[in-house]
């Protein structure tokens, strides 16, 4: 079997979607040969698995991308995995069985020509039920849909003592730490940084907030913290080095992200894999990442009282353990899930 993956980013990319796509490519590669054409490569490439041709040069510019696509069109594929709604016009060029993979907000609203292009797709795989529901609402796609949630590699995380260098860097000694990790940009205000800063004044003085991540919206959040007189209790870390992520999670007493725009919320799995208690949202994919509350507390992100109470509850019953339920999301379960669902899809197709 030969599979083409059209994706935004995978190897050489940071963030949840790049990570997911790498896992997906790896899982597909166990089935046959995979050619992956990315739109973006920002960082040094991770090791590429056998059976995978990763056309990194396609990410150089649009001409290079179209050249790579043009070369691929001349090949014969059994299946095209289209990993972004906006790449559907490219997928269509292959006149081949196509599976659309959807992750979150990119599929929550109608896109230009989206509904028409989706009609040419034979199956849709979604990272979460909420993303699938919201996609179906506008696309009216009537074909088969499949749920393929994120995968976690617990061995890359784990519980460990606080990294003293980080404790000193951010003056966290003797403090109880709330953590959110994400891009801090205006287009992603749905992450819930605002909501946590807003409840901080009503939390005990020894509770500090580690707002981890870089972005152009930082000055606004910093001003908000000053206005609420909690500036000295909010640490804006700036961009986080991937190699420091596990240490970062291990600084936290609570990972709290009352978001409204997460397709799934892979960061929840990362925090859980470090044994950190987690608070997520009832109104986006976080609910599914926390398995409807089995792995962490769920709150209504629009309700400050619920957020505050959940934080206080977790702080009142401190607990460090990797929950057994996290196994549901391990790569060992992801791989067979991808293959069995893909098998069904191919039969369906």
């Amino acid at each position: 079997m030969k599979i083409l993956v059209l994706c935004t980013d995978a190897y050489g990319g940071h963030g949840g979607i790049a990570l997911y796509t790498r896992d997906l490519i790896e899982a597909l590669a166990a089935e046959g040969d995979v050619v992956a054409i990315p739109r973006v490569v920002r960082h040094e490439l991770e090791p590429i698995p056998p059976n995978v041709t990763f056309v990194a040069e396609a990410a150089r510019n649009m001409r290079a991308y179209m050249r790579a696509v043009g070369r691929a069109v001349r090949e014969r594929f059994d299946l095209v995995v289209c990993a972004h709604v906006n790449l559907l016009p490219v997928a269509r060029m292959f006149r081949c069985k196509t599976v659309l993979w959807i992750y979150g907000i990119e599929a929550w609203k109608p896109t230009r020509r989206g509904a028409a292009l989706v009609r040419g797709v034979q199956g849709v795989a979604s990272i979460s039920d909420i993303t699938c529901e919201r996609f179906l609402n506008w696309s009216c796609f009537a074909g088969p849909t499949f749920l393929v949630p994120n995968a976690i590699h617990p061995e890359r995380y784990g519980m460990r003592p606080r990294n003293e260098a980080l404790v000193q860097r951010w003056s966290l000694a003797g403090k109880r730490v709330l953590l959110t990790l994400g891009r801090i940009v205006a287009a992603e205000r749905y992450k819930g940084f605002d909501e946590v800063i807003e409840v901080l004044p009503s939390l005990p003085d020894d509770v500090v907030y580690l707002a981890a991540g870089g972005g152009s919206d930082l000055p606004r959040l910093q001003a908000k913290a000053r206005d609420l007189r909690v500036a000295e209790r909010v640490v804006f870390t700036g961009p986080v080095d991937e190699r420091e992520k596990a240490d970062l999670y291990n600084l936290a007493d609570v990972y709290v992200m009352p978001s409204r725009g997460e397709g799934f919320g892979f960061v929840f799995l990362e925090a859980l894999a470090c044994g950190v208690s987690v608070i997520g949202s009832r109104h986006d994919g976080g609910r599914e990442a926390l398995r409807n509350g089995e792995l962490g507390l769920l709150v209504d992100p629009s309700n400050p009282a619920e957020i505050r109470t959940a934080i206080l509850d977790v702080l009142a019953q401190p607990r460090r353990e990797v929950p057994a339920g996290l196994a549901h999301f391990t790569f060992d379960n992801f791989q067979p899930r991808v293959h069995s669902l893909l098998g069904e899809l191919i039969d369906e197709i």
Partner: protein, 585 residues
């Protein structure tokens, strides 16, 4: 859903609470709670609680009230429903709390023990309650965010009294029946008595979305935990959130969630069904949420049969299409006239509305229902009243003084000469919603009462006070005023007494603080278009013949039946208000 009463003789000089007074108060509320009743007096006779119970969650005697904790330290009377009681119970159980019942009342009791006064911020539901905390010798009193459930208090400086209805407080025999001129003026100006007044001087409503303590010094100032204005103001900088999801998809998710909470009951939950978008969409979404359509009840008026005003055939067609068991209840003029004595006896405060809820509740009770959901609040939430268009227009026109003055002269409506009132949001709202104008009152109430009433009422300032903090947009301002004035003082109040008179609990999934908070960014971004999105939210969307039908009110043709004079308004409600005023007392 119940009728409750709480008495606290907080000053040493006050006489002890009398059982007879509690009994009389509770007896006046019997229709609110026909299933059980109870009275509790503290050992020292300083505190008394009473309740009539309509059993809906945990039908066993374990849910009877007044309810007490195992230590005899906390005692509660509670009217309403806590829709998220199961989540709150699970949370308390994580802290080791053990429960004796499955009732939401017990959850309130234990939540108060665990979280103190801030517990009220965690409740999703409609509620009014009083908790006697014997440890601290103080009473904790609270009411839901929108004031769906009523609670009135009378404080004579020595004894604090609270009850679910004004008339029940009076029935105890210790509260003055002197009419409040401000309440009287408010009734004729707006068609209902605006809070913070009642029609009786000695009785005051508990402010919706607030709580307070009563200790040996008397009631403390209320602490507000919810305001519609603040909800919209907070949503102003959340446009990016409103833009994440297709509006109809978001509405579907959030309203279905609200419905799932509002359908929590140990008895069947039915639905009021008209041919309007709110009730039909709610029934369609209920069908999806529960995989079964609720039993629906529709009113049909004999004088409207066969005319365009008759909604029954459309409601029947809709119910048939989705497979809902359905009852059309015919109401005749003779029945209306025969019901009026009971209607006025049940009316808790003068109001020009309530007849529609009276008859549809009667029909629902006859159909064997104890609980029904209603689309009330949909017009306030989705901006579908004419006020959402007219109030901003009046404010804009008055911004150019000559335009306002000319408009005042040209318009035929009796309110037109006051058109320049519309230069403020409060004034424009009063013009749009007002029944009589201030200069009509001396003729109705006499000059002295009218003058005193208008002065104390200070209606424009009170309307304006609802707009702090500024909801930021025209839609937000009108939505706030509609929720804080018309919906609170008339729709919700009338829904309560008119349904409870038939021992029916009405639930309002579209009047829900959590829903408003979640939808506020979407509402501000899309305004009145949200009604269309709402109609599109079920799968499949509402049929075209329902969606495109012109909006009609859901009213009883009272004026026609009572042969009331037009009196300057097309609805003849001014004439009806005079009838109400005479018959109420």
């Amino acid at each position: 859903m119940c009728g409750i009463a709480a008495l606290f003789a907080y000053r040493d000089a006050a006489p002890a609470v009398e059982r007879a007074e509690l009994d009389a108060i509770a007896e006046r509320m019997r229709p609110r709670g026909p299933d059980a009743g109870g009275v509790w007096l503290s050992g020292d006779g300083r505190v008394g609680l009473a309740a009539r119970r309509l059993a809906i969650i945990d039908l066993s005697p374990e849910g009877d009230q007044p309810m007490h904790d195992v230590n005899g330290e906390l005692h509660i009377v509670f009217n309403g429903e806590i829709y998220n009681h199961a989540e709150l119970r699970a949370r308390l159980q994580r802290f080791g709390v053990q429960f004796r019942s499955t009732s939401d009342t017990e959850v309130l009791l234990e939540l108060y023990r665990h979280d103190g006064a801030r517990m009220i911020e965690l409740l999703r539901g409609m509620f009014a309650f009083a908790i006697w905390d014997a440890r601290a010798r103080r009473m904790f009193v609270g009411r839901d965010p929108y004031g769906i459930k009523p609670l009135y208090v009378a404080d004579d400086g020595a004894t604090f009294r609270a009850a679910s209805t004004v008339k029940a407080l009076l029935a105890g025999g210790r509260v003055s029946r002197a009419v409040d001129p401000a309440g009287a003026a408010g009734f004729f100006l707006t068609g209902s008595v605006p809070e913070p007044f009642t029609i009786f001087d000695a009785v005051k409503p508990v402010e919706p979305g607030s709580s307070f303590f009563v200790d040996e010094r008397g009631p403390s100032p209320p602490r507000r935990f919810y305001s519609v204005a603040a909800t919209f103001a907070r949503a102003l900088d959340q446009e990016t959130i409103a833009d994440l999801v297709a509006p109809s998809a978001l509405l579907r998710e959030l309203v279905v969630e609200s419905l799932q909470y509002h359908l929590v009951a140990d008895v069947p939950v039915g639905a009021f069904l008209s041919a309007g978008i709110d009730s039909t969409t709610l029934v369609a979404l209920t069908h999806e949420a529960k995989h079964a359509a609720p039993r629906c009840v529709t009113l049909q008026f004999d004088v409207a049969r066969g005319t365009e005003a008759d909604e029954a055939p459309l409601a029947e067609r809709f119910a048939r299409d989705i497979g809902a068991p359905h009852t059309t209840r015919l109401v005749t003029r003779d029945e209306v006239v025969a019901d009026l004595p009971r209607f006025f006896d049940a009316m808790d405060q003068p109001t020009i509305d309530g007849t529609n809820t009276w008859f549809v509740s009667k029909a629902a009770a006859e159909a064997g229902l104890k609980v029904a959901i209603s689309g009330v609040g949909g017009d306030e939430l989705f901006g579908s009243y004419p006020s959402f268009r007219d109030v901003p227009r009046m404010v804009r026109m008055n911004a150019v003084p000559p335009v306002g003055a000319v408009a005042a002269k040209l318009m035929r409506n009796p309110k037109a000469k006051h058109f320049t009132l519309g230069r403020t949001w409060a004034g424009a709202y009063l013009l749009k919603r007002g029944l009589f104008m201030p200069d009509d009152l001396p003729q109705l109430l006499g000059r002295d009462v009218a003058d005193e009433g208008l002065k104390r009422l200070d209606l424009l300032c009170r309307i304006d006070a609802n707009l702090a903090p500024d909801p930021g947009t025209a839609f937000g301002r009108v939505a706030t005023l509609e929720a804080a004035m018309y919906m609170r003082n008339q729709l919700l109040r009338d829904t309560d007494w008119a349904s409870m008179a038939h021992s029916l609990e009405v639930r309002t999934p579209l009047v829900d603080a959590a829903l408003t908070r979640q939808l506020a960014p979407l509402l501000l971004a899309n305004g009145a278009k949200c009604k269309r999105y709402f109609a599109e939210s079920p799968r499949p969307p509402l049929p075209e013949w329902l969606r495109t039908r012109p909006k009609r009110g859901f009213g009883v043709p009272l004026a026609q039946w009572m042969e009331l004079a037009a009196d300057g308004t097309s609805t003849r409600m001014r004439s009806w208000s005079r009838v109400v005023w005479e018959r109420f007392f």
